[in-house]
Symmetry: C2
Subunit: 428 residues, 2 copies
């Protein structure tokens, strides 16, 4: 049993302190619920900027925010660090590694995790970038590669150390490739004057026939142009089939010898156990109705990446990004009040505010519902929107200051190998 | 063999990029040496602020600085990440995990490491705080304890989780105790409103009969007063003899049941192998003459914590802190030039600029050679001196901003469990 006081208020258990879970928790403030918020970390991660942690542009603490601080002054809210194992829907309880807890309502807001599509070699040998520790591991590995490249006299080995393969050209893959390309241009040659940076390659391998598959044709073309201008090689319509003994293999027969492969080619819902197979849809997402109720339940909800709400407009569910999660979390707060008070629920309607990606300094693409733009202004908009979306004044200011510094000085100062990664990988 | 080009300049190998090693490397800029700088990390650590990383006041990247950035624009300087195993004095080479390298001159600037005085239980169960990863482990452990304390209903277990024993009341122990006490006052009760913070204890156990043993009687008294005002319990003249099954034992028979013991009670020189036992003095420090030459050699030097220069004024060697290391590094640079050019060397004379320690907001003590002061002004001086001593404009500004924020908001925002520590400890 979790050590949480009983209350005469109905209890809402929220699993996950990401964008959706936190938006919901905030809106439930002083709404006469007892709220129990669970997350495996004690901080919220601002995932859109993980790639900047991985490339030394930001420290990890600048994009993390203590969850307890968010909910500090709320009445009857209990945060617990816990790994949820399953939901016992029959007995209405959540089972976790720190004990079980009964719920009146439970909201699954567990987000998504990397999908390696069952390939064991890729799972074992490539790097994912969904969490802060994973980003820090990438940062260490990238820098360790260059330190090692200095010490080898074998040309082939040196090239493998300086070859970075990014699988997947969604926003994460594109932004990471761009950031690595800028490090190649402005930072690394100054740090490693003995290395020949013509040997450094950044290869992006994309399964679809365009980068930023979910964006407009125009933005997608522009993003590819930006990447190529920065020296990134983009391969479209290529499927990676394996990665072993430092070689990446593709379906069409291409091979890349690289020490580092970063896998951004797939995400899947981080669904929790306890449901029939029919509830779990494509991409391991949980099927919900227009009120985010999990199919077959009135007291169990799923929001954000882990939920798939299949409507006429969204036959595959909503895009797996922050905006749908936040909007669903906010609506659900008021729907929980309605449900408790016996009123009828409001349907979710996604307000698509657009999407964007940044490739490098002065280089970004923005899709608004009505029009698209790119270049310096898009880059400025991207920065402004991300800065404003960060939680907390301190984080905003620290990130702003780091961006100013990085921009003016062409620098990335967090290029620190705080915890070497290579030995750890060899051991796994 | 390390992969470093040969040169017609004499080669100086510097082992360690701490205060001494970096001061030396900087002064050797454009002095017609080939300089090879080795360190096991790719960054310089500003050790005096490690305790703020451990207590969530600063992010680790704010007190670390990439060594490659320091030496970027120097001519013929080669930095390598390496663990030095020994010095082969006969063949004039340094042996490391990335190969060997010949030297004309070698400087041992390896600093100090934690001294557990051979006690296995203490080595295994207590926490040291000499590196950034160690500070981050302490940060994780402290916060994990509170998360766990919420979940237990056993009063004794809860008290052990909330009991922090710091062994040693030198500057590190005192500053850490003060910072924990401020977290207890201003930060933790807001994060954990369900916990009774009367149960939280901070116990400082000091072997000597005063805290800050190396400082003046006045400062030492004042520091103890500050600590006690913050609720820290100080035990003087107590020797810790063991720590097992969560109990700390002292010589006089005292026992403390605590999940967390931080060991700041001893440091020893991080001497490298390759010397006769007679060269290694008390505290594992290497005996040097007034030119920092290792006894019996003219081409091997040791500076800073790892060196002990026994003069009439300093029969036990200089204090193990930044100032002697920096001053010895700077003098050695000019002595290396003199040595190469056949001139006579200059003796080292320590310029004691004083010492200081901070206990909490508006609470610090400063010993200058001529007089002592404490309180708000001392605290202000402490901040100013530390800020100015940080390398790099970005770090100065980020630390300054964090301090402003922490001071005004009574907050410590880096209270993030990025890498949980407890499981790791259980495995060791």
């Amino acid at each position: 049993m979790m050590n949480i006081p009983t209350s005469n208020r109905p209890r809402v258990v929220i699993i996950g302190g990401g964008f959706g879970g936190l938006a919901l928790a905030k809106k439930l403030k002083n709404k006469n619920f007892q709220v129990v918020l669970l997350d495996k970390h004690n901080y919220h991660t601002f995932q859109p900027l993980l790639y900047q942690v991985a490339t030394g542009g930001l420290e990890s603490g600048s994009i993390a925010y203590p969850i307890r601080k968010v909910v500090q002054d709320y009445d009857q809210i209990y945060f617990r660090m816990a790994n949820v194992e399953r939901i016992d829907t029959e007995n209405k309880k959540v089972v976790s590694d720190i004990g079980t807890i009964f719920y009146d309502y439970v909201v699954i807001a567990t987000g998504s995790k990397t999908n390696f599509f069952g390939n064991e070699n890729i799972t074992k040998n490539s790097m994912a970038m969904k969490t802060i520790p994973e980003s820090l591991d990438i940062r260490s590995l990238v820098l360790e590669n260059f330190e090692e490249a200095l010490q080898t006299t074998d040309d082939k080995e040196q090239k493998a150390l300086m070859n970075f393969v990014i699988v997947g050209a969604g926003p994460t893959g594109v932004e990471l490739a761009g950031a690595l390309a800028e490090m190649k241009r402005h930072v690394l040659p100054k740090d490693y004057p003995d290395l020949d940076f013509n040997k450094m390659e950044i290869n992006v391998i994309q399964g679809a026939n365009k980068v930023l598959d979910a964006m407009s044709e125009k933005s997608s073309k522009k993003a590819q142009e930006f990447l190529e201008k920065l020296g990134v090689k983009v391969y479209l319509g290529e499927i990676v089939t394996d990665y072993k003994d430092k070689v990446v293999y593709t379906k069409s027969g291409k091979e890349f010898t690289a020490e580092t492969v970063i896998w951004t080619a797939g995400v899947m819902g981080a669904a929790v156990d306890g449901f029939d197979a029919t509830v779990i849809q494509r991409g391991n997402r949980i099927k919900v109705n227009e009120f985010n109720q999990v199919e077959g339940f009135t007291d169990i909800f799923a929001i954000g990446d882990v939920a798939t709400m299949m409507t006429e407009k969204t036959p595959m569910g909503h895009p797996m990004m922050a905006q749908p999660a936040i909007q669903q979390g906010e609506l659900l707060a008021s729907n929980l009040v309605r449900l408790r008070d016996g009123q009828s629920l409001k349907s979710f309607v996604y307000n698509d505010k657009g999407s964007m990606a940044t490739i490098g300094r002065n280089k970004a693409v923005v899709d608004l519902p009505k029009f698209q733009f790119s270049g310096f202004f898009a880059w400025f908009v991207w920065m402004f929107v991300h800065l404003m979306s960060l939680i907390g004044f301190r984080n905003k200011l620290v990130v702003f200051w780091n961006w100013m510094y990085n921009y003016l000085m062409f620098d990335r100062q967090a290029r620190l190998i705080i915890r070497p990664f290579k030995n750890k990988r060899d051991e796994r």
